[in-house]
Amino acid sequence: MIERHLRESAEAWFPETPSLAPAVVGRLPALPDPPARRLPKRALVVAFAALALAGTAVAASVLDLVPGVRIQRVDELPELGYVVPPFGRETTAEDARSGLPFELVLPEALGDPDRVLVDRGLDGEPVVTAVYGGGVSPQLILTQWPADRVLFDKLLRPDTRTEYVDVDGAEGIWIEGGDHAVFYLGRSGRERRVGGYVTGNVLVWHRGFVSYRLEIGASRERALELAGSLRPAR
């Protein structure tokens, strides 16, 4: 309804468009500027990444399908310990849900998560992580956030497989096998990347303006099944 009123209000909202062509043409130089010699943008991105990661050889492959997640192929992973990323302060699903700019969803089949954590991205947007299974080796970690900026920077070795998948109608990437490094760029990302190795498989996808990352020590089919069963948290 509001969308219709907005669409039909263009003539009232905007002044009449003036005819710009005559004035523009009168100001044009004879020819456009000659193109400057520039390095391809991707080459610059890869070069900066290589510098930032101190000695890590970055291959020319960057997957940008899922907003908020940057995936790069590397020949060797940087030296890092196995660290669970600091996903923020612990809270309850009910508290986390209030005030979110998106609907918090959880896998219906798994019941309540063992832990719910809330963090803020660099731009202050909330990042919610639900952890299933306790201890140092959780069975499933689901993170969801408005994908305004890159939150996860992932580095994959050549032996890690990636596959484009359909996640209940949304485009996603399944990452399986081998160690891959993850850099979590949460609130502390401005100062220093915090990262670790991820030993589970990972599914990332995007729906609406929210991106999702599901880390799980199980098969692709199980991950897709759980991703397809996400329902609003109660």
Partner: protein, 193 residues
């Protein structure tokens, strides 16, 4: 006269890619055709950002001149409009930064003026009143949400075009527009939802 016109058929405009290619070689008439094709979208994008019709005309003109100069960097075969709107949006934001917000309140007050008695007598009074309320509420949205909603829904740009014009990722456009619409729904109450 060309053969299609003789048959009474409209002469199709030259393909955009061809116009761009000709403009790159210095054909001003080809570039004028591109300006005419996209001037409404460009003008509206500038207006969304600078909120002044007089300024919007100057800024849109300047953006078209800059886009012409930059044609050497345009990647052949890619769509022209998002590329153009990125330049237009940058120019508008630069202008806004330079101009500051000195007359923002004056412009907003103009938007909030009630409909005139003559217009209120129109048979479409209720529709007009609804739109007036929607636009008044739109004018009061936080700037980023207002820009996203106005560009996306009022100007009718796509998510990708809005993202190019506002210089933000598509996901950001979606989020700001979603928030803006929700705020409008809360503001306007049940009957306009």
């Amino acid at each position: 006269m060309s053969e299609p016109a003789l048959r009474g058929l409209p002469v199709p405009p030259p393909e955009e890619a061809e116009l761009v290619e000709r403009a790159r070689r210095g054909d001003h008439e080809a570039y004028a055709a591109l300006v005419r094709e996209h001037e409404q979208a460009a003008f509206r994008v500038v207006y969304v950002i600078v909120r002044s019709a007089a300024d919007a005309e100057d800024v849109a003109q300047e953006a078209f001149v800059k886009a012409y100069r930059a044609l050497g960097r345009f990647r052949a075969g890619s769509p022209f409009r998002p590329w153009l709107l990125r330049i237009v949006g940058n120019e508008a934001r630069n202008h806004r930064r330079a101009a500051g917000r000195r007359d923002f309140h004056q412009r907003r007050a103009a938007v909030l003026e009630p409909v005139s008695p003559a217009r209120a007598a129109d048979v479409e009074l209720l529709e007009r009143e609804s739109r007036r309320r929607v636009l008044a509420a739109l004018a009061q949205l936080p700037e980023r949400e207002r820009e996203a909603v106005a560009a996306r829904y009022v100007a009718g740009l796509t998510d990708a075009e809005t993202a190019a014009a506002l210089g933000v990722p598509r996901a950001t456009v979606k989020m700001r527009a979603w928030r803006g619409l929700n705020r409008l729904r809360r503001e306007l109450g049940e009957e306009l939802r």
